[in-house]
Amino acid sequence: MAGAGWETGSALWEEAREPLTNNKIPPGALPDKWTHYKNTVPLVSPANKRKFTVIVVGTGLAGASAAATLAQLGYQVVVFTYHDSPRRAHSIAAQGGINAAKNYQNDGDSVWRLFYDTIKGGDFRAREANVYRLAEISPQIIDYCVAIGVPFAREYGGLLANRSFGGVLVQRTFYARGQTGQQLLLGAYSQLMRWVHAGQVRLYPRHEMLDVVMIDGHARGVIVRDLRTGEIRRFAAHAVILATGGYGNIYFLSTNAKMSNATAIWRAYRRGAYFGNPSFVQVHPTAIPQASHYQSKLTLMSESLRNDGRIWVPKKKGDTRPPEEIPPEERWYFLEEWYPAYGNLVPRDIGARAIKKVCDMGYGLPPTGRAVYLDLRDAVERLGRETIEARYGNLFDMYERITGERPPDVPLRIYPAVHYTMGGLWVDYELMTTIPGLYALGEANFSDHGANRLGASALMQGLSDGYFIIPYTIGAYLSQFLREPLPDTEHRAFREAEEQVRARLEKLKSVGGKTPPDEFHMRLGKILWDYVGISRNAEGLKKALSEIRALRDEFWRDVRVLGDVQDFNQELEKANRISDFLELAELMTIDALHREESCGCHFREEYQTEEGEPLRRDDLFAYVAAWEYQGEGKPPRLHKEPLEFEAVKPTVRSYK
């Protein structure tokens, strides 16, 4: 099967004949795989580690933890971030917490349960072996973070506190008030600083990576632009790690930090790294609704609020009474009604869809009809104001700053927002992409969350990748190159890559149109939100494709980039990132179109049960879609990595 072109007659994609099977999953029973791997992976001696240079792009949780740990092992590490300081990565904004199978609460948690919840939460579209490893490593993350001074919440007895999070029935989430990501990132950053001081890490803030350099088919360096001066520079290494985060910002309005972008992974894709499940985008159910046309981002209200908060709308459509005047029997607690077992704690995809559904049915709150209540007043009555303030006080502050109203006396108004990308560069068990020597960590890869990520598991994955996995797996690759000197940056491959980067930037500048880059971004976001958002159908997706293409043409005819390439130039930075978004948007749409089933975040309206629940089609789609770039204007090639479930049986996900 290949994607039929609906208007040009040319195929939208083509399909590889062979399945993608080289995922390097170790042999043995699921619980033994990682141990087996660690026992057999080739080691690099300390003397040899010193001779290897590793580039790490990105200093979020995944990048900072990887760079610090590789430095600790003795590798020479070179680190880039486009931020002015490594402490500022998007990871800093994570609020709710980090999962770990510690079972400190004695409520029946275990590595197996965390594994199972994650696989099930991902709607059986993730690899068993990776997810099991993640669950297995999770307790060590907490141990290490505590040892380096992360001030997690504690009980009066002095031991660590836990809370529960959407999609699970145990309390396994560790947290630092509502600023867990900040505290974890500052921990990883502190270790990075330690190794910078020791001379083991060379740090380049305000440097944006714009290409991967390939020599003889291996990743051997990067091209970066110094954002202060505009200078384009070459850096060589024996291996390159991309920990550059997700691409949710492609929707313009999202909960992501404003600078988050896809450029690093997209350029790697164009060099031959496969892109896994690009259309798997998580929409978070509880963000503050959009208030104005020029709104620049959406602010998340942590999912932890759903532990104590109840979601409702007035039973009467268009009821304009203030919430405190609507008596309980006139409120519709639709999640509790539709999903009695999990109630307000259903996974994110289900929650987001339910909220959209009640709003589509006309029950949304006035004036926009695009909001529902998240109400903590019952919890205040049950647990006391002090407890609720202690748990969520800083979230209430944030809500008040943005909206001018302070919960818990008034319920929060919330609406779903784009939040996280499960899709990303395809990686094998060693976190290596299809380009030898090029790795992807954290949100930048596609690995562990399948079609839907459970709350508090991205932080866990980023730190697991960085602190505990890459330090082992990179040795398997580097040990093959013991006598290899650092490549010369005068090598033709470096010169050519630099030329291409420069040419692209000059081209952006030379368009000389009238429209600011941001306007294209807003329009692209609208197309994606409408057609490649919470719910999708073939007709809409096809429409999106032609609109994206038209917008891209217009961009290259009409974008206006002021200033110079060889200078500090924020407009050029934006235009360059948007130009990549305009290409990635097409691949996302094609991926969404080709997957003729509903799973996790990917809800195809054509595939639903009579009750409106998603219809997964395991016989046809139990695979990872890994897309290969074929060249400018050519349809991408689809590789299918079959997902085999040995330990668990894919079931219909039920949260009822």
Binding site: S85, Y144, P151, Y294, S296
Partner: protein, 250 residues
């Protein structure tokens, strides 16, 4: 709302800058201050004029990327709030607002409202960490930490490294920033073993990097968007005294 903006424009660290005035007509009270600048920049680009350079990322008050002076105050008039979280509803119709970069010896201007705060990272490199390797940590619950200590440590650890305290201080001191980090780490048992070394090295670095000393004006506390208490500075000095009068190995 109508707003008149006086904005500091400066092309680079060694080039003189000056104020430019911009009139904005339809400012919505629901916009954040940065959204207002976004809208102005869209207009400037359409007019073929260089947009105003300013930085931001999270736009939720947690990353510390944003920050400049509004009417002479770091992050503007609202207590405990970064500029990205400051909404136009806190200004009045017809108001003239003056916007300038953070000014401090240790923070050279890069362009317009963008300054170089990497000196804060340089302080951190001297000891803002606990030297424990991955792989050698005991079980997380093996050392109980009182709820009070964990919570106080957290309060100090919430510093976002924005540099407002430095910009607000007449001496351009980073004492609040440094004090916050030292206090966070010293309140936890894990931070104990390196206490003396840490404070000595970080204080020396702060001075060497061009930051001034503390003369107790408390301007830092007043402008800190995370409302970090000057208790951090008192703790830092106690810590320094302790280190000075100790002859132990470190």
């Amino acid at each position: 709302m109508r707003i008149r903006l006086r904005v500091w424009r400066q092309r680079g660290p060694d080039v003189p800058g000056k104020f430019e005035v911009y009139e904005l007509e339809d400012v919505s009270p629901d916009w954040s201050f940065l959204e207002m600048l976004d809208v102005l920049n869209l207009r400037l680009v359409r007019e073929g004029k260089e947009p105003i350079a300013f930085e931001s990322d999270c736009r939720e008050g947690i990353c510390g990327t944003c920050g400049f002076m509004i009417n002479g105050r770091a992050h503007g008039p609202l207590k405990g709030t970064t500029v990205c979280q400051l909404h136009m509803r806190h200004f009045s119709d017809g108001e003239t607002i003056t916007v300038e970069p953070f000014r401090a010896r240790a923070f050279p201007v890069i362009r317009d409202l963008v300054v170089d705060r990497s000196a804060l990272d340089a302080i951190m490199q001297e000891g803002g960490y606990i030297s424990t390797n991955v792989g050698s940590a005991p079980d997380a619950n093996s050392i109980p930490v009182s709820r009070w200590a964990a919570s106080r440590a957290f309060d100090f650890a919430t510093c976002i490294g924005c540099g407002a305290c430095v910009a607000a201080c007449p001496n351009g001191s980073a004492s609040l920033f440094l004090g916050a980090k030292v206090s966070h780490l010293m309140l936890l048992p894990q931070g104990g073993p390196e206490r003396k070394r840490r404070i000595r090295k970080m204080l020396i670095a702060m001075e060497a990097l061009g930051f001034g000393g503390c003369s107790n004006t408390y301007a830092c506390e007043a402008e800190c968007p995370k409302e970090i208490s000057v208790e951090a500075i008192a703790r830092m000095y106690r810590e320094a005294w302790r280190a000075m009068f100790s002859h132990s190995e470190e």
